[in-house]
Structure formats: C-alpha cells, structure tokens
C-alpha cells in the first residue's frame, strides 16, 4: 500500500506540474499585479525546482501536513475534513443502493433466465450502465422533486434546517448523536436521489456480474447434487450457489468504488452536494496542486483499503484461498 501511495503521489505531482499554466494566475485572477504574483509564488514555494518542491511536499506529508490550498488558502487537511464526510455519506448510500439492488436483481435474473424478469433486469442494467450520471441526476430531480414533490431538492439538508454540531461530519450520525430527529429525517430524505443517481451505474454493473457468475454456478454438478438431495430451492441458491458466485462479484464491487468516485463529481454538481468530487474538480480547474494531491492521496488510500478488505473477504468466502 505504501508503494502504491508513493507511486500515486509521484505521478500526480509531476503530472500536475507539467501542465503549462500557472496556478498563481488562476488564484489571483486577471488583474493581479506582478509583485503580488511574485510574493504569492514565493509563499507557496512555487519558485523552486519541481524536484525540490516534491521532496518538501513528501516530507510534510509524512508529518500529516497536506500543505495549504492555493485557491481556498486554507490547510488542505481542513478542506478535506470539511468535504470528505459529505462524499462518504453519499458514496456509502450509493454503494448500499448498488449492493441491495444489484445483487438480488442479478440472482433473480439468473434463476429466471430468459423469463420476463430477466429481460427487464437486463434492459434495466443496460440503461443503468449507459445512462450519463449527469442526465440521470437531472431526470430524477425533475421527476421526484420538481414534478411529484415526493423527495426534497438539492443540498444535504432542507434550506431551513440547522445542521447539528459537527462531530463526524456525517449528518446522519451527527444528528443521531445530537438526538435531532427532524434533521436526521431531512438528511436521510436528501440522500435518496443523489444516492440513487450515483448508485445506479454500479447497480447495473453488479447485477450483470452477479447474473453471469450465478449462471455459471447454477449449472455445476454440486448444485444438481444439492437439488437431488431434496434441499429447498432458496437454500440451494443462497447457501450453495451464491457463495461461489460472490467471488467475481466482490471484485466488481471493489472496482465499482472507483466509478463512484468519478461519478461523484457530476452527482455533486447536479445535487449541489458539498463534497470531495466538486472540491477536486474546482481545485483541478484552478490548478490548485496541493488540493489535487490531497484529494488523490485520500482517494487512493480509500480505494486501496477497500480492495484490501475485499481480498481478505475472498479467503472468508473461499476456503481454497489462503494468504501466507
């Protein structure tokens, strides 16, 4: 994992620095005077060679210091602390949507192969996988918020709601800790549409993978044996087939986290969600290297951790897999 992070930091740092543009101009704007530009550049160490800048960066990073954002002029760690929880809450919901809808849909589709449910599920997942997140978000917002008024509009809370004192930054947890039922309910309702928007792509991918893995397993000899022993259909599917079919599905679940991160940018834009995706894009457009580095490193840590957990889960699911 350390090696991965080192690779990520080197790559991002140097890619960010070969961009032929000046972050200071982006931060100070068109009207900035030469002396302001010079002193700003010096204050952020941007007047030193790139190699030296990198070493200084890594040295500080090891002490937990992500540097100061060129755009917001605050410590990047503070910015990340502010925006990461919103994305974690959104991503978590989306993932939950993907798992709760995708896996059952895949299983049912495999069991009822070539029947109407299977066709509908396959069409659904084709649409889900090919529909642009941005468009889907506007469609859901237009239908369930604007037309039907079943669900609230953009943002994490109702406009009149007062957020609970931040402890974790996760509104559901903070409002539960503060015992504020109204805010909890508001936060939960606000999660539905962006969670669906972000989760549907992964739902489709997971459903398709579960379906094909299940189909492969369902025709194996041991399933026929299980059925021949007279086991109930549900028990055969859930205990014998699903466990074996889960291994490829798990891989996709891990990879789909990457999709969630990239989808988060667009979902957060449509739903005015104050998250890391928006922060990453705005930072990238303003060539805010420290912020881009910070986001990339945090994303890499989360991504590798999740995939590590999934690797460990393989061993739990499949006794043949052993890690020495």
């Amino acid at each position: 994992m350390g090696l991965v992070l080192l690779g990520v930091s080197v790559l991002t740092f140097f890619i960010a620095h070969v961009v032929p543009a000046d972050p200071v101009l982006a931060a100070l704007g068109e009207h900035a005077r030469e002396d302001q530009i010079r002193s700003y550049r010096h204050a952020y160490g941007l007047d030193r060679p790139v190699g030296v800048q990198y070493l200084i960066y890594v040295h500080r990073l090891l002490a937990g210091d992500f540097g100061i954002s060129i755009r917001t002029r605050r410590p990047v760690a503070e910015d990340l602390g502010e925006f990461l929880p919103a994305t974690v809450e959104l991503g978590g919901t989306a993932w939950l949507v993907a798992l709760l809808l995708g896996i059952p849909a895949g299983i049912l589709s495999a069991i009822y192969k070539d029947r109407i449910f299977d066709h509908l599920a396959r069409i659904g997942s084709l649409i889900g996988a090919s529909m642009p997140v941005f468009w889907l978000g506007l469609l859901l917002l237009g239908s369930f918020y604007y037309r039907l008024r079943w669900l609230p509009g953009p943002g994490r809370l109702d406009i009149s709601a007062i957020p609970p004192p931040p402890r974790t930054g996760l509104l559901l947890i903070d409002s539960a800790l503060a015992g504020d039922g109204a805010v909890f309910w508001s936060a939960l309702r606000h999660l539905v549409l962006p969670g669906l928007t972000l989760g549907l792509f992964s739902t489709a991918v997971i459903a398709r993978m579960t379906r094909s893995a299940m189909l492969e397993v369902l025709y194996q000899d041991y399933i026929r044996t299980a059925r021949a022993k007279g086991l109930a259909g549900a028990r055969v599917v859930l205990r014998h087939a699903l466990r074996n079919a889960m291994i490829p599905t798990l891989t996709i679940v891990g990879i789909s986290f990457g999709n969630l991160l990239s989808g988060a940018v667009l979902t957060e834009t449509v739903f005015a969600w104050p998250g890391l995706g928006r922060y990453a894009t705005t930072s990238a457009i303003s060539l805010d290297f420290p912020a881009v580095m910070g986001v990339t490193i945090v994303a890499a840590v989360i991504y590798t951790t999740i995939n590590l957990v999934i690797d460990l889960l393989y061993a739990r699911l499949d006794p043949r897999v052993r890690y020495e």
Binding site: L25, R33, Q36, L138, Y145, Y146, P154
Partner: protein, 525 residues
Amino acid sequence: MRIRIAAVVMLVGVLLAPQAPSRAATASDTLVYVNDISDMISLDPAVAYEFSGVLVAQNLYDTLVAFEGEDLTTLKPRLAQSWRIRDGGDVWQIVFQLRPGVKFSTGRPVTAKAVAFSFDRVIALNKSPAFLFKDIGGMKEGDTIAVGSDTVVVSLPKTSSPQAFLSVLTFTVGAIVDPDEAMAHQSGSDRGEAWLRNHSAGTGPYMLDRWDPESRAVLVANPNYWGPKPRLSRVIIQHVPESSTQKFMLESGDADIAADLTPEQVLDLASKPGVMSQDGKLLQLVYVGMNVKQPPLDNVKVREAVRWSIDYDGIIRSLLRGGARKVQTIVPEGLFGFNSSAPFQQDISKAKALLAEAGVGGGFTVEMLVPTGPAPGGPKWADIAAKIQSDLAKAGIKVEIKETVQAQLLGVYRAQKGQMVMILWGPDFPDPDGNATPFSDYAAHSIAWRNQYNDTAAATLAKQAALEPDLTKRRTLYKQLTDKVLHEGPYIVLYQPTKRFGLRQNVQGFVWNPMAYAEFRTVSK
C-alpha cells in the same frame, strides 16, 4: 404478470402527470438566493475579491460613500455624511465627516479611528483587493488620519485621482470593520483575518450567521443597523452550481432568486406561472485583443477590416438571446465617459477592400485563444469563437480556434504571446479610469501591454482624463480617447453582457448593482 405491467404503467403515468398544483414557498421573512458560490474564499472585506464573497460582504459592511441602485455616477453618503477634496500642497486630502450615532453589529460605536484601522488593515494584509488602495490610491499605511472622533482625513499623492479613489471606496475594500472585535480575534499578526473569514464585524444591514463552504451563507438582520430595517430578516445564499437545478428550485418555490440561469432558461420562465425574469446591468466587456506586433495585425487597416467582418448583432441576437448590449468602445455603458459610438456591423466588401489596401487581399491565417466554459451572458466561449471564425472566413481570414483553460490562456496573454485572444474585462472600480488606463496605457502592464499596443498619445489622454477634476473637460477627454482607440486600437469589443435573473413573482425591490452585487436590504416579498 398483469400486476407488474400495471405497476409499470402507473409509475410512468405518475412521472408524466401534470405538475402538482400546490407549491412550497420559502419562509416569509427569508430570501433564498441560489447561486454558484464555489469561488467564495473569504468574507473579510480586506480579502474578498471574488464575486460571491463581495456579494455577501457588501451586505455585512458599510463603506464611507456608496453608489446606490444602478447609478454609478452619483456618489451618495453612507457612513460619511459629507466629504470634500482639498488641495493639501503636495497631496490631495479628502476629508470625511462621519455620520453620528452609528454602531457596529457588536454594539460599539463607529469612530474615525475605526476608519483609519480598516484602511491601514487593507494595506498591511496586502491581499487581492489591496492594490485598489496601494496602486490606484497611491496610499501607504498611516495615510488615513483620525481627527477627533468623527473626522477622517485621507491623503493621496497628486499622481492619484481623488475621483477614482472615491469610487474605489464604494467597493468592499473600503468597508469599515470594528477594530476591537477584529483585534480580539487576532491570531499571529493577522489583524483578525482568519476570524473574519467566516465571521462579521461591520455596520451593514445584515450580520453573518454562518457560512458552510460549498453549501450556503446565512445572513441575519443586524439589530444595531443605523438605517431603515431590512425588509427581510434573513437571507440564505444557497450554493447551487448547476443552472437546471437552480431553475427547478425557483419554479418549485424553494428559491426566491436564481442567479445563474442560461439565456434559454430565462426565456422559458416567461411561460411558467409564479416566476419572472429580471435583467441586471454589468460593466464587463467581452472583447478580442489583437497583438499589434504579429503581422499582419500590426497594420491598422487589417485590424479595422477584422472589425468590419464580424456580425455583432447576430452574436447578440442568436447566441446571447438578446442578453447583451452592443458596445464597441472601451468604457462600458453605466460609467461616466461612456461613448455610445458603435459604427461596426458586418460589411464584407468593406473588409475585403481594407485587406486589399493593406496588401493581404488574399487573406491570412490567425490563431485565436478562447477560454473554456461559458462566457458572460450565457453562451460558451467556443460558440462565440465559432461564429467569429465563420464571419472572418467570409472576408478570407482563416481563424484557428484554440480553446484553453483560462488560467493557461492568461499565462500566454500576459506574456504578449497571443495572436488573437478572446476574453473579458471588468473594471476594478466604477470609474472610467478602471478601463481607460488598462486598455490604452502600455506602461500600465495590463491589456494594452499584452497586445503590445504602445501609443503614447492614447496613454497621455488616459492619464489626463484620470486626473482631470473638471467633469465637462473629463468627459471630452474620454470621448477623444475612446474614439481614437475604437479605430486605431487592437480591440474588437464584442458586447457588454446583461446578467439575467429568475425571480419568484412576489419578490420586489431587487436591484443589481453593475459592480456585480445586490443590496438585499431593499428586497421584500
């Protein structure tokens, strides 16, 4: 099976059902203003220089003098009840008499010392807006002196224009901050900068209740406000980056004012119940700069030919949907000294004749740098560029469009390396000098310099006009300058955009100041 089909049909039916008749509305004492506020980095008036930060800070703080509503030509008293400019020998002295009995939101009285503290603080912190005091005003720390508790004297060098400085003072940089409150929260030697980033200590009609970055800023009425109480006691500036989402919120009644709608979306509002649109003036100019050291653009006839090739009316009509004014001189409408002369409209035979006279009758190829994203007024920069490309092609000029992120484009432009660059300019302060000097004085290292336009006569006119105290003479000087640059200069001024808002029909009293902010105290619903 039948049940499933019925369910699907019902779902689709519900989705396509006509709009529910009853709509929510925002609370009656609250204004909800939806806007993209991702540029907000600080609400400290000595630091804020971004659109959304200035919008908020203008409502939290007062300045000594102000322009009210859309009028940027008549200075009105604010915290200063009167002022006069006197000749102090080798300096100009501006003497301000403070309005008596004004208190900060903290309850402390406004004194002359607070004014000196606030002005010195801007210079000492030296953040983005500081150049307005240091370069335009020529001020140093200590140039603002408190005489007694209610008189302030600001000394400016004779090279600075007192009129231009007074218009600088209408902007947030001239806001008066409570010194005791700021210093009580000082960390290091920051004079309270870190604290004032997301707190307020001013005399404005509102105080800052909270600011959640990338989410919203909440303003509540200041109980100590010296003027008439604001009509609405709470203003929520809600961050909504996507314009379609803004429109949903406005039509649903969850927002009272939407600030970033596209021209098409504004047109669409006309057919919707309960909403309306309103235009706001802006002082920005969208223009193309031509580098006069890049042949054949060095030939004044070629530049004139380019200006005659463009279909300005078509750009405003079809791309901006009417959301702009045809302005072709370098001082925008709304400022003193505006010159309404707009002689150019597409005339290809005239353009071709001029090109032939210049010896490039066979046409030429030129590269045009264009920013990414939307231009002021709504359309994409790239779409305007494509229109210009097709217009110029008719005259035999081949334009190669190069779309570039703005930060990168500015790097090239500032290094004098652009051939043609399409970009915008908004004055830093509401005085014609905010445009005249950058556009015509090569030595100012601004726009004229970037286009290598070095015309001593133009630069001299700009300087004379800036310092001229007699308004009639000043107007004549600006007329001479703008006429000269219109034909000889390196610019194609394309249009002056209008900002278009979507409003709930019950919203009244919303006035957009062309310096790109609104005073919410006048809004009611």
